[in-house]
Amino acid sequence: MAQMIIDTGNHIAGYACRAARADVIAAYPITPQSPVVEQIADFVEKGEMDAKYIRVESEHSAMAACIGAAAAGARTFTATSAHGLALMHEMLHWASAARLPIVMSVVNRAMGPGWNIWADFSDSLSQRDTGWIQFYCADNQEIFDTIIQSYRLCEDKQVMMPAMVCHEGLILSHTSMPVDIPNQKDVDSFLPPYNPPWILDVNEPVTHGSLIYPEWYMEFRYFMYEAMEKARKLIPKIDKEYGEKFGREYGGHLERYRCEDADLVLLSMGTIGSEAKIAVDRLRNRGLKVGAARVRVFRPFPKEQIQNLAESARMLGVIDRQVSYGMEGPLFTEVKASLYHREDAPLMTGFIAGLGGRDVTFLDIETITDKALKYLKTGRVEKEIEWIGLKR
């Protein structure tokens, strides 16, 4: 039976792992991810989940164990945050190049020093080029739904790539919200058992990941590039099919809110996207034509969807919860790159906000809007990058 429960984002990620019938979980605790793996341990030990749970001694080993398990034919899951994800970095490359559809919950947290356990996308965005599909969620329901969708996407024979499903530490990880947990039968019919095209099987011996010379290496990397392009096409299809079955969809790559006639569109990821909706409603009441768009998938990056937004919007304001030192916010960079070839590209301005868990409220977003609208009025972006709420 489907049931409505009230629980934290972390526990909900555990529920999704159970609903997806993961065979092997290998995980190591880190704040603020720990309740994800505690929830799964609880399910496994109570017999509510038929899975092998490997309590590894590090995140590096967590990913290595997931790789071994996935190569041996198991559906795998792990979860981590910040320094744990950074420690995994080498194995992230390994998982994607080995074409193993591992799904991982990333509870976004800032990197130290100084130690900071709060929300920040610097952990997952630093892993941009590892070949992982990256989803960013805005509420607990979306965490559940995206994990289920991710397995379906990653295990598609055209894709066979891993995915991280990210949610912000403490903002979602430790906040309880009502979440609909669908009927297991319905989840099973949406997500068939993992049926990998290649596994470690003594009856059909093959070598995985052997030495490869320059004459072939590039071809395998091109296959990965192609797989990501196929994932790009499948993401909205899977989201739509999920919506038809469960009554919830998220706009594929990009969730749009009151963008149709908007002069200014505010782009962001994760919960800042939810907060932006509140700001948009308030600004609309003031008669301002503002919309919000939340980038739900950072890799593959939704270039076309950004281009579509730019058809109507005259200005884009991009809010980043991370900074690339020596450049700007990574989302801002990608948005600009997506529009490079357009002659009629809108004005664009980037904002850095909410690092290390600092709140980004609708009032902050209204401040951002006022700045952006001022630029729009004059037709000139005075300051391309601005840090919001900075004490000086």
């Binding site: 490997i54 790789i67 190569a71 041996a72 795998t76 070598t207 052997s210 072939w216």
Partner: protein, 304 residues
């Protein structure tokens, strides 16, 4: 157990399967000790063996894509990750009900004593049902003979050009401290002992660790036809002791069982002078190393 009794229990050469699971034409150096060890291990364990190999000489000798010189499945994995990846393979097979498969992590001494020791310790502490073999050529040979924690005192390597100033790390005893069911050492010069130990490990439930000394002609600087002879000298001088620790019970095996008395052991010079890597050792250095060998044996004596 009496040595003769032990010999009787040992595998006979003629019992060994003819089938070669390490296929010929692979990329080993001439006189490679590792290839001897792997060939024998494969014969001991049979084709229902899944290898997990981190960066090491073995990841080269299984040959580049699209070829492989292994007749059973193999998962390549990052340098420090063999034991962790093997845990994943074991868990997947347990979950999927795949039976009678031996998961064999096969790593060099750098991947074991140094960069891989954390994952190994973790996997063993969790009681992972697998065999971990460290083939010990006493340096990072694949990267060009750099010092490892397993390099002996005095040895030249490309990162210790005047000789290593620290002693070899005793990984088998570190593993024994994990209270694992089976720990053993072996050497390619004693193939029946080696095979018996792998066969025994295959039968034991839980984590098994075997360290095999594999002389390396290019790294140790000796002629390629002397690989087996060097292994034998390592055992006879006591530089390498053959032992096993079964559920905590320590036992010297084969010729090593007769070498507890120092007078029975050949002086280490006989082993050192055959190898270019020890050429620059002074008499004082040799004395330091001899003392370390003797102390190690005193320690083994206490374990008996």
């Amino acid at each position: 157990m009496d040595w003769l009794e032990e010999v009787k229990k040992m595998v006979k050469l003629k019992e060994l399967p003819k089938e070669e699971l390490l296929l010929p034409g692979n990329a080993t150096c001439a006189g490679c000790g590792l290839s001897v060890a792997l060939r024998l291990a494969y014969k001991a364990l049979g084709p229902r063996t899944v290898l997990v190999i981190p960066a090491c000489c073995a990841s080269v000798i299984h040959s580049p894509f699209p070829n492989t010189s292994f007749a059973s499945p193999c998962l390549n994995i990052a340098f420090e990750a063999a034991a962790a990846a093997a845990s994943g393979v074991v868990a997947a097979y347990e979950k999927r009900g795949v039976k009678n498969v031996t998961v064999l992590a096969w790593a060099g001494d750098g991947g074991t004593a140094d960069i891989g020791i954390q994952a190994l310790s973790g996997a063993v502490e969790r009681g992972t049902n697998f065999i971990y073999v460290c083939y010990d050529n006493e340096s990072y040979m694949n990267t060009g003979i750099q010092r490892s924690g397993s390099t002996p005192y005095g040895a030249w390597t490309t990162t210790t050009p005047t000789g290593k100033r620290q002693h070899k790390k005793n990984v088998p005893l570190i593993m024994a401290a994990h209270n694992m069911p089976y720990v053993a050492t072996a050497c390619i010069s004693h193939p029946l002992d080696l095979i018996s130990k792998l066969r025994k490990a295959k039968e034991v439930e839980g984590s098994k660790y075997i360290q095999i000394l594999v002389p390396c002609p290019p790294g140790w600087r000796f002629p390629t036809e002397k690989t087996i002879e060097l292994g034998r000298l390592a055992v006879q001088t006591g530089m390498w002791a053959l032992f096993e620790i079964e559920h905590g019970e320590f036992r010297l095996n084969g010729p090593s069982a007769r070498l507890v008395d120092k007078s029975k052991r050949k002086p280490i010079e006989q082993y050192l002078k055959e190898q270019g890597r020890f050429r620059n050792m002074t008499n004082d250095d040799i004395e330091v190393l001899q003392e370390w060998v003797d102390k190690s044996w005193e320690h083994y004596k206490r374990l008996m």
